[in-house]
């Protein structure tokens, strides 16, 4: 266990000053997620343009430093990606958080990979994995236009 790995500067910084913590004006996709065990909740908003590219992504909600930082980093790097690319990135991220040692997606720049790898510290904290993944599951739900609230237990 290593607290320093979990609470890296970049996580603390994003946790304290989350990017895109707002509601996108004119959003056309959104979904809600919550973690019933701890009461954390998130609402993800996406605005896709005519070419189905994410023009803007944002979120509202409250939670721990890990969940806020994760949603902050996610909404930042998903801008400019299309649905297919975004979903592949989600898969890649979830795989990395659970078991994979690194990120593989060709849609991620080296800089984006470095940022996301800052969240890899949660691997050692099984109870905290859901904090990092809630906003990602919720974004997929927004793409798929699911009306049910996402509930993340893992």
């Amino acid at each position: 266990m290593n607290l320093k790995e979990l609470y890296q500067e970049i996580i603390l910084e994003h946790g304290k000053n989350p990017r895109n913590l707002r509601k996108t004006e004119g959003f056309n996709k959104d979904a809600k997620g919550n973690n019933p065990l701890c009461g954390d909740n998130v609402h993800v908003y996406l605005k896709l343009n005519g070419q189905k590219i994410v023009e803007d992504a944002s979120f509202e909600g409250s939670g721990c430093a890990i969940s806020m930082a994760s949603a902050s980093i996610m909404t930042d790097l998903i801008k400019g990606k299309n649905e297919h690319e975004a979903k592949e990135i989600v898969e890649d991220f979830l795989g990395m958080i659970k078991e994979n040692p690194e990120l593989k997606s060709e849609y991620l720049s080296e800089d984006e990979k470095t940022k996301l790898m800052c969240l890899s510290g949660v691997k050692q904290y099984p109870m905290r994995v859901k904090c990092a993944t809630l906003s990602w599951h919720t974004m997929v739900s927004a793409f798929d236009e699911k009306t049910e609230e996402v509930k993340t237990e893992n």
């Binding site: 607290l3 009461g39 954390d40 721990c64 806020m68 905290r128």
Partner: protein
């Protein structure tokens, strides 16, 4: 009273938890178990096991006697009038569900009002919500004051001519407030209102005297009382338990079963359908003996000292804010740190071997009222020391350091 000696009776404190000595501050969630309780479960399964109340062979009779001995011990411990007022359940949650379900079947009518409080654990709200759905009863909430207390005056204010039942916690698992249950019961009874008490936090930490409290029902969680999991106790006044219908149907709770009619067994069998948590019940006798050997007055004195000490420490700690400040308070210290989410607090404290709970503690209504999504909670038991609270404070300081506060 020698706390170091008492602590030695709990084998878990011999363990290293992630290379740390365990500082266990999560007893409001569940207490640790003394060796006598653990050993009793082992001994029963190893040397004495049989199902109870069914067969006539030697082991069955002996096991039945042991099982019933615990019932008598509980009766004496809580000063109930009659042994048959003690019903074993799978937990306090089931005890409260039993009360709500059976009162819903045969006592509460559409339009009746149930008064609970904003302090209630979900297990003393959701069962009444079921009746709100199925029987159209109304649920009213007594509100907390600024200190996180529920006063007798507030209860009185919320009673209406339609109030049929008041269901309240004895001791809040978040603010630590101890409710004036005896006075509330007197008031309620003067108006013909039934009183149900969620005693989960009360039972391990307060002196229990059912005849003095005079409430109609009292729910106990055994695993918070240095006892095994999977076991609760429902105390109910005999007149109620006799009058109300059974809760679950099955073996053990019947008198006679025919194709066209069924009659039910006498108390307490009527409410103990199926094979019960036999080993747990038998081991729970040791929990009671353990508490009796220390003496509840000593438990209360020790825990009051701990909570006063901890409260002073945390009040002096910048950016730590205590949740509630009741005058009459049990061993619970809930707090928030400005700028650090409770889950982050709990993870960082855990690294030092300090086990606390973070979240809404099954009290979402209360956290909504306080306008906080969650809180961190340190709660004490008989094995805790002032040093544990010093460590808590030190780990909180480490947490502040990590978050650059």
């Amino acid at each position: 009273m020698n706390i170091d000696q008492i602590k030695k009776e709990f084998p878990i404190f011999d363990e290293k938890i992630q290379n740390n000595d365990l500082v266990y501050l999560d007893s409001a969630n569940s207490s640790q178990k003394p060796k006598v309780v653990v050993d009793r479960i082992n001994e029963f399964y190893t040397k004495q096991f049989s199902n109870v109340g069914r067969s006539v062979h030697y082991l069955a009779v002996a096991a039945t006697n042991l099982y019933e001995n615990t019932r008598t011990s509980v009766q004496k411990y809580i000063n109930a009038k009659d042994k048959n007022e003690i019903v074993f359940t799978k937990g306090a949650t089931e005890a409260l569900n039993l009360v709500a379900n059976t009162l819903g079947q045969s006592y509460l009518q559409e339009g009746d009002e149930v008064l609970i409080t904003e302090l209630e654990h979900h297990s003393n709200y959701v069962p009444w919500h079921f009746l709100r759905k199925s029987k159209n009863i109304k649920i009213n909430f007594a509100e907390i004051n600024d200190e996180g207390e529920i006063t007798l005056e507030e209860i009185e204010k919320k009673i209406t001519p339609k109030t049929k039942l008041i269901s309240i916690t004895h001791l809040s698992n978040v603010t630590g407030a101890i409710l004036p249950v005896k006075e509330i019961t007197q008031l309620a009874h003067s108006k013909g209102i039934i009183v149900v008490v969620d005693g989960c936090q009360g039972a391990p930490h307060l002196r229990l005297d059912m005849q003095d409290l005079d409430c109609d029902f009292y729910a106990i969680s055994c695993h918070k009382m240095y006892g095994p999991t999977g076991l609760g106790v429902l105390y109910g006044k005999k007149k109620w338990l006799e009058e109300l219908p059974p809760y679950q149907g099955g073996g053990g709770m019947i008198n006679e079963v025919k194709k066209d009619r069924i009659s039910y067994g006498e108390l307490p069998n009527k409410y103990e359908a199926g094979t019960m948590a036999t080993a747990q019940v038998i081991a729970f006798d040791q929990s009671i003996k353990f508490l009796e050997s220390i003496g509840i007055e000593n438990v209360m004195k020790h825990e009051a000292d701990l909570v006063n000490y901890g409260q002073e420490l945390l009040q002096k700690n910048n950016s730590v804010k205590l949740v509630g400040n009741p005058k009459n308070k049990g061993g619970v210290l809930s707090f928030t740190i400005e700028g650090v989410h409770p889950h982050d607090i709990a993870t960082i404290l855990d690294e030092d071997g300090v086990a606390i709970r973070a979240g809404h503690h099954c009290c979402q209504i209360l956290h909504d009222k306080l306008n906080i999504p969650a809180s961190a909670r340190a709660s004490v038991g008989i094995y805790n020391t002032r040093e544990d609270l010093d460590q808590l404070n030190e780990s909180i300081n480490n947490c502040k350091k990590i978050f650059n506060l």
